[in-house]
Amino acid sequence: MTTVSAGLGLLRERVVGQLATKVGLFVVCGVLLVLVVLLSAGQGAVNVPPSEVIGSVLHKFGLGIGPMPTHPRGDDALWNVRFPRVTMAVLAGAALATAGAVMQGIFGNPLAEPGVVGVSSGAAVAAATVIVFDLDFAGTWTIAVAAFLGGLVTTFLVYLLSREGGRTEVVTLVLTGIALNAMTSAGLAFLLFMANTSAREEIVFWQLGSLNGARWEQVGVVAVLAVVGVAASVAMSRKLDLLALGDRAARHVGVDVEHLRLKAIVVVAMLTAAAVAFCGIIAFVGLVVPHLVRLVIGPGHRLLIPASALGGAVLLVAADLWARTAIVNADLPIGMLTSLVGGPFFFWLIRRARRTAGGWA
């Protein structure tokens, strides 16, 4: 009797423990996001302390609480330069991490990521084409639409080329990524060759990835894509769980696999386009964040996706802050930083996948 009740107590403790971990992750990420946003918004040539950042925001929304920035150009700097940039970082980070989580779900492979498999560069080629040939068919949306189409085509390509018998082997996926990245860099090189000086500068910016010069109207475009994409991902999260069983078994428990995969590919392309359209190629966010989240709260997509979105936002805002402050008076390309950190992480993941799968399976 006592062993039974002790067992029940243990079970309850574990269940409560799991719940606490899950809630805890969201709370910690939420708090971190607020802190890092406040810090990042205040940091720069015109320094604004966090309390004044809060004050400025509250004043903007008609609540006259808190101190206004003391620096004469402080309020301007916040609203015209910093806030668009920080918001862009939040949105792009959330979009990239979510795209990674969804992609890993449909490929059944924890190494799938838009940057690694070439989807980001596919989107960047399309966006660069728009810049070089000075195309304009949808106003502010032109670049985003082009990036979306480029991302869609490359995602389909990766999917068609790397799947065999309902699964994607690690080695096939990585090799497909290499081939696609080679093709897209050739495309980018050609565009670079074709472009005039100003367009050339813009293309270099795609390749490096940067949040510098984000504008509110761009933020608006990215916000629509990111919010719709994350919402759609959350909506399909239950079925992504079932896809872990493999295509056939997922169908046996009632998933229309082809339909789901098509939807997921469109969503991945949309999320990648959201990030690439105005920030360029920022790789590895979609790899690192979902992986860390899985370590903490497990692989269930219903929590993994929102937690990844939140974590991606934190990571990218922090990375951007680092990019702006690491070297005085220099704005480092953020894509370079994420690759610098993400590359070794990717190495480690490959090694681990190789060990646990007993070879290159």
């Binding site: 059944g108 069983l245 056939r248 009632g254 229309d256 899985r294």
Partner: protein, 283 residues
């Protein structure tokens, strides 16, 4: 009403009981099913019927087309000709979810891409019932299924860390949790020890006695003889014999089909099938 439903739910099947005597309703059927991959004819005009209250065992040598037939019946492969019906309705016209509420499939090999917990995996079997009145019993049914498949002690383990047999039993629990009138199992006993072989097939037997229709691919002929009501012997993609174990499992037929002398023994009311071995061992 709710109490009754809960009781049925814990039983695992929602059908009314029917006598297990070959008179049950046909729940799953293949009519002159043929399938060719390229020039290889895998199945050739196969007719099978799986009835409520019965276990149908598919037996035959390697490459006879047993797993492929099961795949066709499950809707994984489209037959080149012929038709599969699930509860009288063409399977091809059933949606994935509709089919999943009627039949559950246990595959030969288990795979899982991410480290889900055993209980989460079993809960995946409840997916077809999401947003239906049955979803109310998800927890009860999952608990009961975990118990019936004897994986209670693994509940909080990570699926990929389990042994092959433990994974197979977890997948079996998932199949039970799906709570369908038709159960399809592809070599459910292959990875299991003798205790769990008997245990898994007893649970299938119980489900059939409660009205389920089960089709099981088996290699062990003695197991098939002990648990199945009907046996279908396949060879080279064709049905060689079909009927009650005692009628079908003859030394003559089996020796021919398996291209190896086989003897059929009767021991304490059981049929035991053993290969003929040279005296003093097979060396």
């Amino acid at each position: 009403m709710s109490a009754d439903a809960t009781k049925n739910a814990t039983m695992g099947t929602r059908q009314e009981s029917v006598p297990a005597s070959g008179t049950g309703q046909v729940l799953l059927a293949g009519h002159s099913v043929s399938l060719a991959f390229g020039s290889a004819q895998i199945l050739d005009g196969v007719d099978v019927e799986v009835r409520s209250g019965e276990i149908l065992a598919l037996v035959g040598p390697n490459g006879a087309g047993k797993s492929t037939l099961l795949g066709v019946l499950a809707g994984d492969h489209e037959p080149s000709s012929g038709e599969v019906t699930l509860r009288g309705k063409p399977l091809a016209s059933c949606g994935a979810k509709e089919a999943a509420r009627q039949r559950g499939v246990l595959m030969q090999k288990q795979a899982l891409s991410f480290g889900f917990l055993v209980r989460d995996v079993v809960m995946m079997g409840r997916a077809p019932w999401h947003r239906s009145p049955e979803a109310e019993f998800d927890e009860t049914i999952v608990d009961a299924s975990i118990k019936r498949a004897d994986v209670e002690h693994l509940g909080s383990r990570n699926f990929p860390t389990l042994s092959g047999g433990e994974q197979a039993r977890t997948a079996f629990a998932r199949l039970l949790a799906q709570d369908t009138p038709v159960l399809m199992l592809d070599e459910p006993t292959a990875a299991l020890d003798i205790h769990h072989q008997e245990q898994v097939l007893s649970v299938v037997r119980e489900a059939a006695d409660a009205g389920a229709a089960a089709v099981v691919v088996l290699h062990d002929l003695s197991l098939a003889a002990a648990y199945a009501d009907q046996i279908c012997v396949l060879a080279h993609g064709e049905v060689r014999a079909q009927g009650r174990p005692a009628d079908v499992l003859t030394a003559e037929l089996l020796s021919e089909v398996y291209a190896h002398p086989v003897q059929v023994l009767h021991h304490e009311d059981q049929i035991v099938i053993v290969p003929v071995r040279r005296p003093g061992g097979s060396r």
